[in-house]
Structures are given as C-alpha cells and as structure tokens.
Symmetry: D2
C-alpha cells in the first residue's frame, strides 16, 4: 500500500484524488490546501485527514505526494517533497521560468526521488498506441508529426494573464507529445500566432491561435496547430507520418450514433473538454505513477521532460516575438 | 469492331448508347424505337442510322443487339435476335412471367447465342470487389449476406401498376446479388412487406417496404430490406459475413467533404439514384458484354440468372400473399 | 441510502456489486451465494456480510435485492423477494418457461414491488440515444429496425445445453431491443437458423446462426441477425429506418487509432465482448434501478418486458421448428 | 463550337485532349508537338490535324490554345498565343522565373486575352465544395488552412533536377490552394525541409519532405506539409478551420469496400496518383476554360494566380536557404 498525500484540492486535485481512490494500491492519507474548506471537502470524500504541507512532509510514513496546487507553488513544493524523500507527482509546469525549473529538477535529482510530470496525454490509450506502433516499427522511421489541439472556448482573461501565454500554458502539452513521438530531440522552433478567437486575449498580451514547426537534428519535423476556441468540441488529433506509412489518432465521441436525413449523415461533436477526453489518461497516469513510485521500471514523463517542453515553449514565444526560428 | 444496334431509345437506352460510344471496340450502327423522334434524336448523338427491328435483324453485319425497350417486348425481341444469330444484351427482366422467360431462354440456348441480362449491380466496382474477396477466401465460407436497398422516392403509381410488384421490379436486383454472393442456390424464400411510404401504392395492390429471407440447402442465409423511399439518398449497401470475417460495401457520395460545427460532423447524403450510383457499373457492364460478345470467356449474368431471380421474386410474392415461406 | 443485497456472486454478480459500490446512494449489506467461498470473496471486496437468502429476506432494513444467481433460481427468488416487499432487480430471463415467468410476474405485481429485468443493452448510451432520437421525432415514424448481434466465439456446449437455445439465451436481448425501438408490439415472428460456426452446437440440438423477422400490427418490421462466432469482435449494431431518415449505432473500439500502409487503412476490431462493450450500460442500469427503487419515475425494463421477450423467443423457436411464421 | 489546338502531346496533353473530345462545345483542330510521332499519335485519336505552332497561331479560326509542352516553353508560347489573340490555357507554371512570368502575364494583359493556369485542384469537386462552404459562411471567418499533400513515390532525379525544386514544382499547387481558401493574400512565408525519402534527391540539391507556414496581413495562417513519398497512396487532404467550425476534404478510394477480420477493419489505400485522384478536376477544368473562353464570367485561376503562387514558392525556397521567414 502506497501512502499518498494530495496537495491542492482544486479541480485537478479532485480528479487525482478520485483516481487514487480507485487504485487498490493507494491510500490517500492527507489532503492539503491553502483554502481549509476545499481541503476538508475533498478529505471527506476520500476518507483522509486534512493536513498542512509541513505535516505531510514530516510524516515519514507518507511515500508519495501529488502536487496539484497553483503553478507558482510547484517548484517550491517539489523541492521540499524531494528533500523529504517523497516520490513526487507534479502537475505541469514545474515553473513558468526555465531556470527555476532547472533548479527544481536538480534538487529532485540530488535526492534521488522519483519526479513525474503531469503530461496526462502520454497516457491516453490512443496516443499510447501511436507510440507503441512507432516503437514496433509499423511506419518505419518517423518523418513528420502533425498535432491538432484546440480548446472548446477561451478561458477567462484573468487566467490568460497568469498562464505564461499560449505556448507555456497550452502548447506545452503538444511540445511534449511532439518530442515523444518524434523520438528525436527538436533543436529548432518556429512559431507564429494571431488573435482571431477573442480580442480580449490581445489586451492580455497573448494570442489565441498559433502554429509551430519543430525540427530535429536529423531533419524530422513536427507541426502543431492550436486554437483557444473550437465549435465542434475539444479537437485533439495526432498524425505521425513515416517511411512505411502513417498512424493517427482521431477525436472521440460520447456515442457511436449517426443520424441520416435529407441533409446527409451526422455524427456528434468531439468530447467537450479534457475532463471527458482524457478521463482514462488521468486514471492511467496516476496508476503508472504509483507503480513507478513502488519501484517498477516504467516509462513516464519526468522532470527533464517538463524542463525540455518548457524550453521549447520559451523558444516558441521568442520566435513569435522576434519573427525568426529559435535554436534550442 | 463490334457492330451494335440499340433497340429502345428511352432513358436506359440512351445510357447504353453513351457507354457504347465510349468503347473503342463498338460501333453503334442502328437505333430503333417505336417512337420515331426518340430513335432519331438518339441516332443523331451517336452518329447511327434509324432502323426498324426487322432491318436490324436482317442486317447480317450486325453482331450484337442491346435491348432497352419496354419490359413487355423483351422476350419477343430476345427470341428474334437470338434466332437471327446476334449476341444479345437485354435489360432485366426477360419477362414478368417465369414460364415465358424460360421459353425465351430456351430459344437463346437453342441458337447458341450469348444472352446477357442487365443486372448492372454485379459490375459495380465495390460489389465486384466483394465477390473477388469472397472468391479469394478472405472471409472463408459465406454464412450470411445482408442487403440494404432503398430507392430515394416512390415511382408514379402508373409505373407501379405495370411493374410486376416490388419483388419483381425492385428486389429482383437483390435476389440476383444475393444468389451471386451466397455462392449457393437459395431454395427457400420468406418475404413480408407493408405500405409505409406511400398509401397510393396500396391502392395499386403493391407494397413499398419489404424484408425477405433466403436460405440455401447448405444453410446459408440472405436477408434483404427494401424501401421505395429513403430520405438520405439511394441507399445501396451490402454486407457479407463469413467464418473468417466480413466484407461490406458502403454507400457512395459525390465528394469526401465533411463539415464540423456545434452540432457535430456532417457528411453528404448517398448519391441520389441509380444513374449516379451505378454510372461505372453501366459502363463496365456494356464493356464486358462487348468482350463476351467478341468471344472472351468472362463472367457476366446470363439468361439463367434472369430466370432464377424471377423465380425468387415470384416465390417472395407468393410468400407475401400466403404468409408462409415458399420453396423454390 | 438504499440497502442492497446481492444474490449470486458469479461473474455477473461481481459486475453488479462493483457498480453498486461506485454508487453513492447504495450500501451493499449482504452477499449471498450457494458457494460459500464465492460469497465470502465478493463480500470482502465490497465490505458486506455473507448471508443466506433467508437472512436477506428477513432483514426488513434491506430495500433492494439484485438477483444474479443461476437462471433456474430466478423465478423463485423473485417471488420470495417480492413477497418480502423488496425492490427486485433480476438478471434475464425470469425463467426459460413463459408460464412460470407469467406466474412470477403476477406475484411481483400483487405485492406492488418494483421488478426490473437485466436487459442491459437498453442502458447503453448509444442505444439510449437511438431511442431518444426516435422519441424526438428525428426520423418520423419508425418503419424498419435492423439489429446485428454476433458473439465473438461460441460458448461451451454444456452452456448451450442449459441455455434454452439461441433464441431464449442470445436473441432475447434483440427481441427486447426490437420491441423497444419499434415502439409497437410485434405480433408475428419468422425465424430460421443453421449450424455454421460450430458443429458441436448441432449435437446439442441448437443452432449458431439465425435470422428473425418481426412484424407489428401496423406493419412495422424488425430484422435480426445473430451468430455465435465473429472474427472481428463483439458485433453489436442497430439501425432504425424511418420516414424521415435513419439513426444507427455502430460498434465501439478501444482506441481511435488508424494505421495506414501500402495495403490501405486499418482500424481495430470491435470491443471483444459484453463486459467491455456494455460496461457503461451495466453501470447505468444499476444506477437507474436504484433511482427507480428510491421512487423516481424512470423508464426501465420490467417484468412484463421480460415476459414479452421470452414469448417472442418461444415463437422464434417454434418458427424454426415448424418452418412457418408464428403469431404471438 | 470552340476551335482548339493542343500544343504538347505528352501525358498531360493527352489528358487535356481526351477531355476536350468529351466536350460537345470543343473541336480539336490541331495537335502540335516537337516530336512528330507524338503529335501524330494524339492527332489520330482525336481526329485532328498535326500542325506546327506557327501554323496554329496563323490560323485565325482557332479560338483557343491549350499549352501542355515542357515548362521552359510555356512563357514564349503564352506570349505568342496571346499576341495572336487566342484564349490561352497553360499548364503550370508559367515559368520557373517570376520575372519572366510577370513579363508573360503583361503581354497577355496587353492583348486582353483570357489566360488560364492549370491549377487543376481548384476544380476538384471536393475542394470546390470547401470553397463554396467557406463562401457561404458555413464556418465563418477562415482562420487556419491545413494542407496535406504527398506524392506516392519520388520522381526520377533527372526530373527533380529540372523541376525548379519541391516548392516550385510540387508545393506550388498548395500555395495556390492555400491563397484561394484563405481568402486573403499571404504576405509571409516560412519553410523548412529535409531529405528523408530518397537520398538521391539530396544530390540533386533538392528536398523531399517539407513544411511551410503562410501568414496573411489579417493574421490568418496556412500550414502545408509535403512529401515526395507516401506508402498509402496519393495523400491529398485539406482542412479549413474557422470561427464557426471546420470543413475538410478527405482522400478518395476506388471502392467503398471494408474488410473485417481478426485484426480489425481495413479499407483500401487512397487513389494512386493525380491521374486518378484529379480525373474529374482535369475534365471540369477544361470545361470551365472553354466556357470562359466562350465569354462566360467564371471563376478560374489566371495568370496573376500563377505568378503569385510562384512568388510564394520562391519565398519558400529562400526561407529554406536562409532559415528565416520571408516577406512576399
């Protein structure tokens, strides 16, 4: 039994707690949150105690910590938990500042603890199968990865303002998936973007529509398109083109119903947003973290992946601002 | 060069003439029709002469005759053309009366001429591929054939009245396809039907919606569903289930465009009717008739197929009327 | 909180127990099984006590009973539970004998208790949506329902021998779905079948491949095709054709991955069997039973549905044996 | 009747001649080619005379000229035909040199003749429907156009050497389609590429895999991916994302057959190459040229479109070489 504390009882913290509850090998011992009521409410549903972060870290029976608090607390909490010898699962990003993320990563490495980053999409069954097909040689050498990622609707401007911008907040997932599927490290980023969905985003100094192109040393390429608004649901598609063919993952829908009438054939929109689309991925992610935390040798995105994705996001932001490709 | 006469200058006659015109090995020499103006109009577009049936059959340079006149003339014309030693392509059915069809078939056999029936669907590239996959063993032994065949809109009641009824006029195509794909002769037919699409069809003594089930001696089965009205186009689908899997042919559309919006994803209706859906089949059918007529050994539905499909249709009609399965 | 006892700790009993455990409104108090070890094992995983059926029925704090024991015990248990005033959920069928099922239904009615039948497919989100679209008038009047239902592999012959035969064991689900979607009571059944998948099934006096056609008084029709063996997974599809169009539910797959190579494009097989395909349906079914048990007015298949489906199955069996359609 | 001369009797010239033959309003009077045998062979099949370019241009009864000769002859022939007052259809590109193309365009404008460029894809029924949906406002303002265009196999290196490079030879079609669907002029191009398919292409100084990103002044974007090799057929897909949804055109296949087996469901590869995929587009293109040539006001790509696409290709080449985005 792995004894776990959940730090952060907001939307994502509750998802992680629910998934931990369903895992027979995990016991949620503590819930911690800066807002007492939030901590209490979540603690109650998972039969855990409310505790401060200090209490959590001082309790030597706690094996693992799941960090789902606000982004600006991630780096400190990771360092403290690592220093206390806990296995750490941290929501992305480690930090909006790559230097700070690097420091944090060094601390975790120094203490030899497991540090997993919340790149949930890597655990999606469809995307996992893409990776497995690539690794199995189904399409031969990977040549071009194409990622389409569109949110259903823009978040509030207050969220945008603190988000670090589209590349660090949203496309960072795609940078991670792109690296992972290319199987080769991108060393150049070109990015461009516009405000086409919501003018308020321009006033916050950000963009809502973007395209990025990554290149690796061996000449493989990845193209990514993002939008903060999409009428037909949460558009999450990946296509990997290789020398022997192509593998792709399409959107998912709630049912497989089709309606035919005089206008033709109609199927339903893509699943509405990440909670629905990546429900399985969130569950599998925590299961795999627990297994890794228990000593199993398992492929799971770690601190270095978090750092690298952040560096690609920083390069994309620089490319947007300078109008030129940026070497990473 | 095969010298051909087209008898019947109506809608189907014009389709056949156009396809003959595109075939380098065919020369349309004569067009014949009981309506002079129709014959002249078609003769003009294909650079042929107008002639009476007598003239056509007396001209010993004519190798092949394409019969596309009204159904009640088919049997006589087939017999006369066969007696004159011409290769004969005849639109389905040979006759609405099976005994008459049998006589006609005997005459053709006696004179040793080629007699091809216009079961155009066998020449459709998708359905041909179904047959090829079956013959190649892709799905092992065939067990169940499922045919969906729905017309876009009911024909005028006057047409219904002379049609011989849904089974002989419409489902006859499916009986032929069913036999062909089962690869085994059906020896029992159960059929049932209703008037659900157009009450006027009831007054004509016919039905507009029907289901039939065929069985072969070896226990293979075929289910067929027909409707005279379908909102989403001309619904033409076949599914063949076997011991090792399934092959199926889906509807076809004019473009491969998909439109996504808040309501989901929409594709266009099936092609509107047989002229569009089976355009390739009509062309290939005549090409294959010409090749067979030229002596090539080629699989093409003949008089016996026409007779057998008619017998199945008769049995279906009897089953509808008696409420019991009928042995064939 | 609804206090529930689970009777029968086999495969289906465990599924129901797991779903009850996930429902916040249910408390599994007892587990009962003729095999002690089975009862104990399941009771442990859901934190319940082991009890005899007598103990369960004598405990007046128990509100609801879930019957998942062997088929031959269903009718007695339903009667006893109804007499004890419990809400009853019973796996299909009530009994293999329609007269016995009728008696059982009368007892439940006399005691005014809720009696729900385990026609899980009605709760499948795709099939529910078909029903909703029909009820919303999307396709106008229903005309033809087509149901394809194929199991991945034949069960052991010992299972077949006690199953009541394909129509009462397997197609009974489709009879229920057919009635439900037709929205009109079938009053005639024609059925035919063969042994094509597994010769051992013939020795058990049953068939493994079947087609049935149902008719209602108003002329609506339903065609059903079943096979005990299917290479490409658990084939579960429904198509409902109406005056204004068609709605259909396609098979489901584990991922939305497609692989393209020189041979074309490949997607994965249908989900393997009912545990995967109807996982959501099983969960929703119990949730709805609990809500109905709690007094909510909710559409859920009851005893009369169980009886009617059994009568259709009996009629299909008679039709198979006599070679004629049977009135119901 | 429009009297036409075909200049160039190679592969494309023969396609154009066949399509002209099927058009009732066209009469192919002359065929011209630098290789006499080629001219004679084609002239024979379309019942035309062989003539030199001089003879063609001196014959004042000739209304229209279709130029399908080698690329290096296009500009001269266009100028001479325009000067002779003929309507001109010219295969793309006008010239590999934008300055030369500009001169040529000026000559055509000075003589007020119709000059149509062979951007065949604009006439593809699926792509035309994309344009129509956009123009009808189905997706609101266009935001991102994504074009996937992959040839089945690399051409011979000798072809590559004279082609002007991937951007001017292959992606030029996509630049034209991108401009057309964006509905807004791109003013910046970023392009990158690699040799991943065929090392021989590197020795010819070209690339075989490329990605380009276009931007318009209003911030709309277009991403294009090209490869000279694709295992699953000629991959030709377009997706247009807008404020209200998305429209896309998928690949086309020869049949709609699907094969299901233990491994899943398989459909066939995309149509093999442009002759099959764009057969309709080639036919419609010539029909529309003839109608425009006859005075009808019809939307068809002209000399300015040819020049603009070439400028985008030049900019892409410069971007590839300098590693920076290039303003156009």
């Amino acid at each position: 039994m792995i004894r776990v504390a959940v730090i952060g009882a907001g939307r994502i913290g509750r998802i992680h707690a629910a998934n931990l509850s369903r895992n027979k090998d995990a016991d949620i011992v503590y819930v911690s949150d800066v807002i007492d009521a939030a901590a209490e409410s979540l603690a109650k549903t998972c039969n855990a105690a409310v505790a401060s972060v200090d209490q959590v870290l001082e309790d030597s029976t706690i094996n693992a910590v799941v960090i789902a608090s606000s982004t600006d607390t991630h780096a400190d909490l990771v360092e403290r938990a690592a220093t206390a010898g806990k296995s750490v699962f941290c929501e992305k990003p480690l930090d909006l500042n790559a230097t700070r993320a690097q420091e944090c990563l060094s601390v975790a490495e120094k203490h030899g603890v497991l540090l997993c980053l919340g790149f949930n999409r890597r655990h999606d069954p469809s995307f996992s199968r893409l990776k497995n097909e690539i690794d199995a040689g189904t399409i031969g050498n990977v040549e071009v990865v194409s990622i389409t990622s569109r949110d259903p609707a823009p978040p509030p401007v207050q969220y945008i303002e603190r988000s670090g911008g589209l590349f660090r907040d949203m496309m960072i997932h795609d940078f991670d998936i792109g690296r992972w599927l290319l199987g080769d490290e991108p060393n150049q980023v070109f990015a461009t973007g516009s405000v086409l969905a919501d003018p308020a985003i321009a006033t916050a100094g950000d963009i809502d529509t973007a395209i990025a192109v990554l290149r690796t040393a061996s000449g493989r390429m990845c193209q990514i398109t993002n939008s903060r608004r999409c009428e037909y649901g949460y558009d999450q598609r990946i296509e990997v083109f290789g020398e022997k063919g192509m593998v792709r993952a399409d959107n998912q829908t709630a049912t497989k119903v089709e309606v035919a009438g005089a206008g033709g054939f109609a199927t339903e929109p893509a699943l509405p947003f990440f909670l629905e689309r990546y429900a399985d991925a969130y569950r599998i992610q925590l299961d795999r973290f627990l297994r890794a935390s228990g000593g199993e040798n398992i492929d799971i995105p770690g601190g270095a992946d978090g750092l690298r994705a952040l560096q690609l996001a920083d390069a994309a932001q620089e490319s947007l601002e300078t109008g030129k490709p940026v070497d990473v």
